[in-house]
């Protein structure tokens, strides 16, 4: 049985009367790239800081590699952090920044030099060893922060929104790099972010946090395709949410709109349920027999280059967002204009019922 790299048991943090982290239970497997995803204020950074040791929990415990470290000071925990602001030591050059943790451990000087050189190669900063942090670009500083933390081979590497300060292109490049470095080094990464794209593209598993609790935890596909709560459905990607009373296999969304939800079990007549369907899962043509279909009217269209978004009115006060890729075959044929009457449809498995 593999000991999880990090375990949180009943972790709670109350600060100034507010419960910032609420009875969290979590296991992060060894070697995993795990993301804590959530909006600002959801408690993800606080959780990270508690794991790092910069903050004491009000109750609960933190285990790293099976060992209870709740009352261990940060410098004794086998955990390293990459800070959002990088927190580089400006008075030291890159090499001495990276080797800082090793020097504290009293490792032999020659060894340190060798490992620092290796690490700098890994993050592609081999030539900048003697430079000062102030001479580096944002992306380079980020890599120094990563190297400095990684070189200590911690049981867990904590990353606190490390890519937030980078511009878009650089961020995408760094995401790919981080992922490949993690694969190569095999260390458990615990990554905190508010950017769902980042979380989905890099992680083995994602935990969605909101208001101090974990709403859902699973693989990116899991979390995206099968949200278990309204928050999860809305926070990740966009969803069309339709609420109404359940009756005989259909949900009454509006007076003139009863949507069948075949294959759904577990609700009794009269229950208030919410059905979530992702815009890209909705078709406007080429329907298959298994699809649930309903007519509607185009309210507006909006062109986004590779996709077009349509707002379709399907019932009183019910507007559905549909996302279509602008494939060549669709160009001349199926361009809808506001006012057009259309049919929309989706596969039953893409309509997720939320409680």
């Amino acid at each position: 049985m593999n000991t999880p790299a990090v375990s949180l048991r009943g972790l709670t943090k109350v600060f100034a009367g507010a419960t910032v982290v609420d009875d969290l239970d979590l296991d992060v497997s060894s070697g995993e790239f795990f993301s804590l995803l959530g909006p600002s204020g959801c408690g993800k950074t606080t959780t990270l800081r508690i794991i790092a040791g910069f903050s004491d929990p009000t109750s609960g415990s933190v285990l790293v590699g099976g060992e209870d470290v709740t009352s261990t000071p940060p410098h004794k925990r086998d955990v390293n952090t990459v800070f959002q602001s990088y927190a580089l030591f400006e008075h030291l050059d890159v090499r001495r920044n990276v080797g800082f943790g090793l020097r504290r451990k009293g490792i032999d000087r020659a060894d340190i030099d060798r490992r620092v050189a290796e690490m700098l190669e890994l993050v592609e900063l081999g030539a900048r060893g003697k430079d000062r942090p102030s001479e580096l670009s944002g992306g380079q500083r980020q890599r120094v922060a990563l190297a400095r933390a990684l070189i200590n081979r911690p049981k867990v590497l904590l990353l606190d929104e490390p890519l937030a300060a980078l511009d878009l292109k650089l961020r995408h490049a760094m995401q790919a790099e981080l992922k490949s470095i993690q694969r190569e080094v095999g260390i458990t990464f615990l990554f905190v972010t508010h950017d769902q794209d980042e979380a989905l593209s890099m992680s083995d598993r994602v935990a969605i946090m909101n208001g101090g609790v974990i709403e859902q935890c699973g693989t990116p596909e899991d979390v995206y395709e099968n949200p278990t709560s309204v928050f999860a459905a809305e926070f990740i990607g966009t969803s069309n949410l339709m609420t109404g009373a359940y009756a005989a296999g259909a949900v009454t969304v509006a007076a003139d709109l009863k949507l069948p939800i075949p294959g759904h079990t577990g609700s009794t007549d009269g229950d208030q349920i919410c059905v979530a369907i992702r815009p890209e899962k909705i078709w406007m043509s080429d329907f298959t027999p298994a699809m649930v279909q309903t007519p509607g009217t185009i309210v507006s269209t909006s062109y986004h280059g590779s996709t077009t978004q349509y707002l379709v009115s399907v019932g009183t006060g019910v507007t559905i967002s549909v996302l279509e890729q602008n494939l060549p075959r669709m160009r001349a044929d199926n361009r809808w204009e506001p006012g057009d009457r259309v049919d929309i449809g989706w596969l039953p498995e893409h309509a997720v019922v939320l409680t």
Binding site: V14, A16, G53, D56, T58, S71
Partner: protein, 303 residues
């Protein structure tokens, strides 16, 4: 970052060790760093102020030694026309110093901030350096310059403009000395305020009001108010208590509180009286400060 206060878990299941060694562990270090300097400040500064107050209730023994006591005769001695007039004079001089400082500081700070360009830092340094270099020497220099056989009067005589004017021993000499000594404390805060200001406001003001003076009143002045208030404080306080200027550049008719206090300790040997004067001055200062702060903050609230 707030101090983390460890709290006990509601139910101790007995599974985890209860040792609450704080992992944040920051406060012991920083708190203990505060201990020594605070002890020092309390010992030397706070206690010194306390002793001044205590001695002001004391008196002098027959042999001339100051002792503590519980008399208020020092204070009642101060409530005398001579002393009160002296205090008023000091107040007037200090206020005049502030006013003149403002009149000088604004143009200078303005010129440097807005037109100094590359030389801004050098200009400010050129102002700051003399001010931190020997107040005494510079006052002496003025004394030399303004004295009867000094440069100014000899120059006047040589050019036949007169037989020399009595420049020293006048209130203006003393005030001039005070301004000379403290105007930098008005220039720096105003300069700092100007630097932080959004200069396009001035441009806008010039467009709107056409008169530079009105622009100044309605745009620049309000925007630099914090600097102005800070400067007024930093000039008024030392000016009020100064004695060097009055001593070197003035005479008995321009005596300030500072001179009087100094006399009690240096020549007069009446320490309790001197303490009482000091206390009285500090009390008056505090009252003025409080009134001033009230006035400026209520004005700020009205904004």
């Amino acid at each position: 970052m707030a101090v983390d206060v460890p709290t006990r878990a509601p139910e101790d299941t007995g599974e985890r060790p209860r040792r609450r060694q704080r992992s944040s562990q920051r406060t012991w270090l920083w708190g203990s760093l505060l201990a020594l300097p605070t002890a020092w400040m309390v010992t030397f500064f706070v206690s010194s102020m306390v002793i001044v107050v205590l001695l002001s209730f004391g008196n002098t023994t027959r042999d001339g030694f100051p002792v503590f006591g519980t008399t208020t005769e020092n204070f009642s001695a101060l409530w005398d026309e001579v002393y009160l007039r002296l205090f008023l004079r000091s107040l007037v001089y200090a206020l005049a110093t502030v006013a003149l400082s403002v009149l000088i500081a604004y143009p200078v700070a303005y010129a440097i901030a807005l037109h100094g360009g590359r030389y801004k830092n050098a200009l400010i340094a050129a102002i700051v350096v003399p001010f931190f270099a020997s107040y005494l020497i510079r006052m002496y220099a003025w004394k030399a310059l303004l004295s009867d056989d000094g440069l100014v009067n000899s120059g006047l005589r040589n050019t036949g403009l007169g037989d020399g004017i009595e420049l020293l021993n006048t209130p203006w000499a003393v005030i001039g000395g005070l301004v000379y000594g403290f105007v930098v404390f008005m220039i720096l805060p105003i300069y700092a305020s100007l630097e932080r200001m959004d200069l396009s406001l001035i441009e806008a003001g010039k467009d709107l009001y056409h008169s530079p003076f009105r622009t100044f009143l309605t745009v620049t002045l309000p925007a630099t108010r914090p600097g102005l208030y800070g400067g007024m404080l930093l000039v008024f306080l030392p000016a009020l208590g100064d004695f060097v200027s009055a001593q070197l550049l003035g005479g008995s008719s321009t005596f300030m509180i500072g001179n009087l206090i100094q006399q009690q300790f240096a020549e007069g040997q009446n320490w309790p009286l001197g303490s009482a004067m000091t206390v009285a001055m500090m009390v008056a200062l505090t009252v003025l400060m409080v009134a001033y702060l009230r006035a400026t903050s209520s004005r700020a609230r009205e904004q």
